[in-house]
Symmetry: C2
Subunit: 109 residues, 2 copies
DNA sequence: CCTTAATGCAGGTCTATACCTGCATGTTTG
DNA sequence: CAAACATGCAGGTATAGACCTGCATTAAGG
């Protein structure tokens, strides 16, 4: 099963630095290691380590252009987490939202 | 800000044992420590520790009945995580789903 | 009451991991 | 080709946290 994979994704999300990196990539895809380091209170090597972990769990993918390593955000794992974990804890709210949407659509014209 | 709180919730979710506990409480609310321990490959004291952490970040709440401590699942923090973190990474998919739903509804009759 | 049951509290160990420094490798460009 | 640049690789330390054992405390029930 992918239960071990899910665990790794959760663990990857459990660090503010890694979430920040994901956030930055989501805002601007394809950034290099150097770009991602700028402004972070961490040594480059630490960032490399975090990016390595994120790559390992497929939350980012990588593309080499000469001496530059470009990073790209991959939404699949985080969506998997949502689908298999978050959604069921939230069903009541989602159902409520769905009903509300239905009523609004019905009252539209 | 609640950024530190969010971090704690992510960290709380980053452990399979704690996720299992949340899962069990979600399935059957109000269980005691003893009940929750049953079948878990952990000492009672470890479970106490995990429950303490979950309580600290408000993912569960507690109610004493005599010598029994009953635990209740609280969906708010996990929903907060979804709202502030997961949803934005998933907007494309959600939009796609929304469009699909609209088309299906249009093609219904 | 006195026994049994449910839990709390106080350490102690051991592994994971976050972070760093220092040096090596490969790529661009004048 | 040589200097400057982007990154990799190899350790080393230190803190967090997951887990345990042992004993104390409070409640229930005969």
């Amino acid at each position: 099963m992918a239960t071990k994979e899910i665990d790794k994704v959760f663990k990857a999300l459990a660090h503010p630095g890694r979430r920040e990196l994901l956030d930055r990539l989501h805002a601007k895809n394809g950034q290099t290691l150097g770009e991602l380091c700028a402004g972070l209170a961490m040594a480059r090597q630490s960032v490399t380590q975090h990016l390595g972990l994120l790559e390992e769990v497929n939350m980012i993918s990588v593309n080499w252009h000469g001496r530059e390593k470009r990073h790209y955000f991959n939404p699949v794992p985080i969506h998997m987490i949502y689908e298999r974990w978050i959604r069921k804890f939230d069903r009541q709210r989602l159902d409520a939202l769905h009903n509300l949407t239905g009523k609004l659509e019905g009252a539209e014209p």
